[in-house]
Point group: C2
C-alpha cells in the first residue's frame, strides 16, 4: 500500500524495507512454482512465521499485498512494450497492451489467478480499496481515454444509463483514471467496463484452461474478441492496420517462448 507520507525515521524505513522483502520473496516463490504460504515466505526470509504477523494481519492480507505488487510489476512491463508505438497512436498501444495482458496470463497462470481470479466478497471494503487503485486498471482506462480523445467514438450519455450505473460511473469503485474525466463524459466508463469485461472473459477462460487447448494455442478466440471491439471504439477505419499489429504481436510472443 503506497503511503503518501513517506516515513523518514530509521525504524519506519526499516519497516518499509521489510515489506518490500516480503513481496519480493513471495514473488520469487511463485515464480519457482511453489505456492504462496506465510511460512515459506518467513523461513526464506530467515525469520519465523509469527514474525510476519507484525506486518500483515492474516494470510489473505499477504496475498493481497503480493497481488498488488504482481499487478504493478506486470503493468510496468506492459507499459514498456507499449512504448514501441508512439504516444500519438493509442489504438496500437491498446492492442499491444491487450496482447501483453493475455500473454502474461497464459505464461503465469498462478499469478494471474492470484490477482484476477481471487474472489472478493462484496462486503470486503479493504480489498475493494486495493482493487480501486489497481495499476493495470488505470493502465487500460487511460489508453481507452486517449483513444477517445483521438477518435471520438460514441458513448452513452448519463441519462441513457441505468440509474445505478450512473452512480457507479460518477463515483467509480473500480480502478479508473477518472478524476480528469468530466462528469458529463463519464459514460465512457460504461464502455470501459464492458470492454474490460470482454477482455477479462477470454483471458480468464484461456488462463484457467477451461477451453480446448488447441483453441488457446491458436489464439483465435482472443483475436476474434478483440476485433469485435474495434467498431464500438471507433476504430473501424483502422481495422486493417490494427489487425496487422495484433497478429504481429501475437506471433511475436509465440515465437519468443515456444
Amino acid at each position: 500500500m503506497p503511503h503518501l507520507r513517506v516515513p523518514v525515521t530509521r525504524r519506519e524505513r526499516q519497516r518499509e524495507a521489510t515489506y518490500d522483502e516480503i513481496v519480493a520473496v513471495a514473488a520469487d516463490l511463485l515464480d519457482e512454482g511453489a505456492d504462496l504460504s506465510l511460512r515459506a515466505v518467513a523461513t526464506r526470509m530467515g525469520v519465523t512465521a509469527p514474525a510476519l504477523y507484525r506486518y500483515v494481519a492474516n494470510y489473505q492480507q499477504l496475498v493481497d499485498l503480493v497481488a498488488f505488487e504482481l499487478d504493478r510489476a506486470a503493468t510496468a512491463e506492459w507499459k514498456k512494450e507499449v512504448e514501441r508505438y508512439p504516444e500519438t497512436d493509442p489504438a496500437a498501444r491498446l492492442t499491444v497492451g491487450c496482447v501483453c495482458f493475455r500473454q502474461w496470463a497464459l505464461s503465469k497462470p498462478r499469478q494471474f489467478a492470484l490477482v484476477f481470479a481471487n474472489p472478493i466478497a462484496a462486503a470486503d471494503t479493504e480489498r475493494r480499496e486495493l482493487l480501486t487503485i489497481s495499476t493495470s486498471g488505470h493502465f487500460f482506462t487511460d489508453l481507452l481515454w486517449q483513444i477517445w480523445e483521438l477518435y471520438q467514438f460514441p458513448y452513452p450519455s448519463l441519462d441513457e444509463l441505468d440509474p445505478v450505473i450512473q452512480d457507479a460511473v460518477l463515483n467509480p469503485l473500480i480502478p479508473a483514471k477518472a478524476e480528469h474525466i468530466p462528469p458529463e463524459d463519464r459514460g465512457i466508463l460504461w464502455l470501459y467496463m464492458r470492454s474490460w469485461s470482454a477482455l477479462y472473459g477470454v483471458v480468464t477462460l484461456e488462463s484457467t484452461g477451461h477451453c480446448d487447448p488447441r483453441v488457446i494455442e491458436s489464439g483465435q478466440l482472443f483475436r476474434a474478441t478483440l476485433l469485435d471491439w474495434l467498431e464500438p471504439l471507433g476504430l473501424d477505419g483502422e481495422r486493417e492496420r490494427l489487425t496487422r499489429i495484433l497478429d504481429e504481436e501475437m506471433s511475436r510472443h509465440r515465437s519468443s517462448d515456444g
Copy 2:
C-alpha cells in the same frame, strides 16, 4: 464418473453408494460455508481420512468428483426452470438458462469457483476428459443447436475458420452435443465457443467480485452482454420479446432471495 456398465455385484453397489455419499457430504459441507477438505468429508462420513484414498487418488480428484456433481445438479435445476417455456421456444429457454447460470454463480460463488474457475493444466488429460462430458456444456450447446434449427442464423463455413479451429470443431475436446451435428455444420461450434466465452466472462467477473458491487447488483453488465448476442444468433426479430423475458427472469431471482 458415469459408468455405462452398471455393476450388479454387491461389492460394486456398495462402492458406488460410498462414492455417492462422498459427493453428497462434500456438497453439504460447501453449502454450509465450510471449505472442502478430505478430512472433513471423511470425519463427517464417520470414517478416517486415509479410508477415502480407497476411492480417490488424491485431493484434486475429490475436488473433480464434487465439481462434476455440482455441475450436474445445477444443470438439472436449470433444465427445470427452462421448461417453463415450451420446447418450441429455445430462444426463451436459452435466456432463462443464462439467467439461471448467472444466478447460481452469484449465490454460490464458492461452488462456481470450484467448477468453473478451477485451473486445468493443458497437459492434464484426465481432467480434460471430465470437462468434455460436463453437463452444463451439453445443456448450452444443445439449446444453441435448437435455436439454429429454428432461426437458421449464419455461421462460418469450415474453410472460413483457422485450420486449428477446424480441427477443434471437427474433433471437439470441449463439452458439446456434437455427434449429431454433421461435419459441414460444425462451424456452429465456433459460435458456441465465442458466445460461451462471452457469457463465461461476465459471470466469472461478477461471481469473483472483480467489479463494482453496484454494477453486479444492477445486472446491467450481464444484461448488455446477453443482448449483444441476440443479433449473431439470428434473434434480432425477437429482441423485444426476449428482452422482456430477460428482465422478468432477472427481477424474479432478485425478489426471490433479497
